[in-house]
Amino acid sequence: MKQELYDLAERAIKIGKSSGADDCRVSIGGERFVEIGYRDRKPENIREASTKGLRVEIFVNKRYSSQSTSDLRPDSLKTFIGNAVASTKLLAEDPFRTLPDPKYYQGRATIDLKQYDPDYEKVSPESRHGFVKAIEESCLAKGGDKVISVTARCYDGHNEQLLMTSNGFDGYQEASVFYGAAQMTAKDEGDRRPAEYGAAVAMIRKDLPKPEDIGAEAAVRTLSLLGAKKLKTETLPIIIENRVVSDFGDGFMQAMFGRSIQQKQSFLADKRGQKVASQVMTFIDDPFIPGAMGSGIFDNEGMASRKRVMIDAGVLKEFYVDWYYSRKLGWEPTTGSPSNVILPPGKRSVKEIMKELGRGIFITGFIGGNSNSTTGDTSIGIVGQLFEKGEIVHPVSEMNIADNHLKIWQRLAEAANDPYPYSPVRVPSLVFTDVVVSGI
């Protein structure tokens, strides 16, 4: 389909230019996917399709708009882009809206990122059903008589993306994705029916764990929530489990974007070069990890990717600044699109850290909550386990943590040795001290 995407992009740019646009940027994506869900040892749903969509950004008379459509019939596309160019001319002038200087397209890495599994086309319907059945069976077996319901799911897709600009950029990426998951609901005291999931996602099929492990993870995690209690409000150390660190860290990341800074909605705006976290916090944006979902040799605007140390031993070094906001701020652009988030792992396991901490909460999930990127205030519900002297005591429910991002990251005490592999946020479990955990 690669040539088909190129032909379509070239046609869209030609229509844009002939309709009066000064410049255009076109992105086209196509995907073929299959999704299968199992429940009660039979398929609950099967979904399969191919999709294609086109987005064109129009720059005309220092004015800007972006349009997307899945109606790619030639006549429709011609009228769609022609009208879009005409309408864009009616907007207010914005001299900061241009395509990036082509010099930022230069220096693209030549690394093979291994994001497409060459065996993708060999995945058969039988192997998909076998994979998802194995997940379900494993979860049912491990969950035993506590099981109320188990849903198992698998998804695989092959996608292609093309980005092309009228000032000389084109970039094509092909990727595959494989996903397996189970969710179990268990019998608990009274009417409580705790549910948890186990899941993994990878770009190369062999990087997925065994389906039996995914099912067992869902069961073990669900059973660990039985008998949850609410504690009295207390100031405690917390360990945030690797797979949910991103849910908490998002509140911090939001303040690192050029838009937040230029729009005066960032608590980090004036903190470059300052210590915003403890020594433990080194945060690297690394787009060059083979097989990782956040990897790419160019970003969403076509600018060549770079590995960047965003925070170095607690000191804020860089922001995520795209081309537009770099011009508004008068700064050098970096990128507006984070790639893989890396925080170097520590040396000890969560279990070892728990032993030393005494009493604390191991947070395995969050509920609701939010973060204010202007002030840094955050408050979020937690799911997890009370531990004492290295041993799990019981799960906790209906509890919450509240803090400010400018303060809590200064109390980051340790990173465990378990970076999470199934996400672009490849961070280990993190330990924070002196956190108010509110309950009764």
């Binding site: 398929p43 609950e44 749903n45 099967i46 399709a49 999709t51 987005r55 004015r63 800007y64 708009s65 972006s66 997307s68 459509t69 899945s70 009228t79 769609f80 009208n83 879009a84 309408s87 864009t88 009616l90 907007l91 002038e93 109320i148 319901s149 998804y155 998951a181 009417d191 409580r192 549910a195 999931y197 929530l225 949850a228 609410k230 409000t233 729009q263 005066k264 909605q265 509920i367 609701g368 909550g369 939010n370 204010n372 202007t374 002030t375 205030d377 408050s379 979020i380 519900g381 209906e398 509890m399 919450n400 943590i401 509240a402 803090d403 199934y422 108010v436 509110s438 309950g439 009764i440």
Partner: protein, 511 residues
């Protein structure tokens, strides 16, 4: 990264709306027959979709048996106008066109979709859907009878017929009014969104239903600065409204509400942590009703026995003065639907009647399981997804007390004025929601403003712990919100009177 358990309600302010709209605008006129507001015949007229073709595709979907099959055609045009730094300098639009084909066998669903509305492509998608069944083929109905329903959001002027130069001054005026209201205002973002969604549902049992669903909102975000401190506030108005709804008076109201709310935050504190009485203010606090209670009453969760409400049908779940309704028939409200996405007419469903749980929210699959009629809650985000039970407009009826009496009875606790988002764990019933603005209640009166605090609780417990309702019922008038479930977003509305909950956990900063 997919998450199975996440189920949250996002009330997008202008910022979130701008960020969420991944892509694109401004189709002031076009190549489709925009001037024709009537729904009937649209897909045949514009895309050549005939009954003969539909019957053939449905026959393919039932080629291996199955209980029934349906086709869901969609053509949606969404537009955004965005103001930043004083000028409407960005526009975006999106066109979604496609058909989803579903084959249902018991509680099993086969689903295929295509963006290509040719017969060949549709037959291929139908063939995918058919794989869920494994019996001799069935024939769909011989003819399709048009579904007739009331229209809860009649459109006299399509958004695509409203010229851009009529929309631009509206957006600009909100910005100008915000700056005029206070010298502390340093940044304003405004987003105007309009959408017209055309759908055609054709079912194998012989129903054909066409609709034109408008949706729109105007949202403002204000950043204010005072003594070196910054605060941000967002608000929006909208629903299934057409352009005439967006008057200069509404722009004024939006600007005033957004600025006033930003300014009050300079005096706001984070409340102490712990359990305390909570008064949920009228209108927007209905997010909590939606999260903590509504989701647990969606029938798919109960059919699978994973909702905490699955054993409570016919039982007392609240005090006798509590009645909760889910309703698709409120004119122009965000969650209203003339019929749902499997052609069941829009209707009003009483979930809790004077404290007794009387019904779940059903699609066709769960209705068959429970041997009841579908309640018109079968909804989907787009042609790319299959139907699941979803709320429409969920609300709690008013009580008899005055708001002052409710606050006085609470004595000491917090009063919730605005809620940013929430989430529930269906099986446990545990929920959390984020209070972006509220007040302390001290000595039975409203005290200092509060902000940015999470509230935790358990849905069934909270419902049982509603001890007083006021006579100040309001529907939430925003249009920017969307409910997320199973990876699908759907527009939902909500409302409630001031309600006193005996005790909830407030996630404050100190004990």
């Amino acid at each position: 990264m997919k998450k199975i358990t996440r189920r949250d309600f996002i009330k997008s302010g202008a910022t979130a709306a701008a960020a969420a709209m991944a892509i694109p605008t401004i189709l002031s006129k076009g190549w489709y027959s925009f001037a024709q507001a009537e729904a009937a015949g649209y897909f045949e007229r514009e895309f050549g979709i005939t009954e003969v073709m539909c019957r053939k595709v449905l026959a393919e979907a039932l080629a291996k048996g199955g209980d029934f099959a349906d086709l869901f055609f969609e053509h949606t045009i969404s537009n955004f106008l965005i103001l930043e730094d004083g000028k409407v300098n960005r526009a975006a639009s999106d066109v979604a066109l496609g058909v989803g084909i579903r084959t249902v066998k018991g509680d099993q669903v086969g689903y295929g979709f295509t963006q290509d509305l040719s017969e060949k492509a549709m037959l291929a998608a139908a063939s995918t859907a058919a794989t869920i069944a494994d019996a001799p083929g069935k024939e769909p109905a011989g003819k399709f009878v048009p579904l007739k329903t009331k229209n809860y959001y009649p459109v006299t002027t399509l958004f695509s017929s409203v010229p851009l130069d009529a929309k631009l001054p509206l957006v600009q005026s909100v910005n100008d009014k915000c700056f005029a209201l206070s010298p502390s205002v340093i940044k304003v973002n405004v987003v105007f969104h309009d959408q017209q969604k055309r759908i055609l549902v054709v079912t194998s049992d012989g129903t054909k239903a066409e609709d034109l669903q408008p949706k729109s909102y105007i949202a403002a975000t204000v950043v204010a600065e005072k003594n070196g401190k910054r605060e941000r506030s967002s608000w929006n108005y909208g629903g299934r409204q057409e352009f005439s709804y967006y008057t200069p008076a509404l722009a004024e109201k939006l600007a005033k509400r957004t600025v006033d709310r930003a300014l009050v935050l300079f005096d706001a504190i984070q409340p102490p942590a712990g359990e305390m009485p909570v008064v949920l203010g009228p209108g927007v606090s209905g997010v909590l009703l939606h999260e903590a209670i509504g989701h647990g009453m969606e029938a798919d969760f109960n059919r699978k026995k994973i909702s905490t409400y699955c054993t409570m049908l016919g039982k007392k779940v609240a005090e006798p003065f509590v009645t909760i309704i889910d309703d698709g028939t409120i004119p122009h409200l965000t969650g209203s639907i003339n019929f749902d996405d499997e052609a069941t007419p829009g209707q009003k469903t009483v979930l809790v009647d004077k404290g007794i749980l009387t019904s779940y929210l059903h699609d066709k699959i769960s209705a068959k399981f429970y041997a009841v009629k579908p309640t018109g809650n079968g909804r989907r985000e787009s042609y790319q997804q299959y139907v699941i039970p979803r709320m429409r407009n969920t609300y709690m009826l008013a009580g008899k007390a005055t708001p002052e009496e409710v606050i006085k009875t609470a004595a000491k606790g917090i009063y919730v004025e605005d809620v940013a988002n929430g989430q529930v764990k269906i099986g446990e019933g545990d929920f959390a929601f984020y209070v972006s603005q509220g007040r302390m209640i001290e000595n039975g009166k409203l005290g200092a403003p509060i902000k940015d605090v999470n509230i935790m609780g358990n849905g069934p417990k909270m419902l049982a712990n509603i001890i007083m309702l006021a006579n100040d019922f309001e529907f939430y008038e925003g249009g920017a919100g969307a409910c997320g479930k199973g990876g699908q977003a759907a527009p939902c509305g909500f409302g409630q009177p001031s309600a006193l909950v005996k005790s909830l956990t407030v996630g404050g900063v100190k004990g």
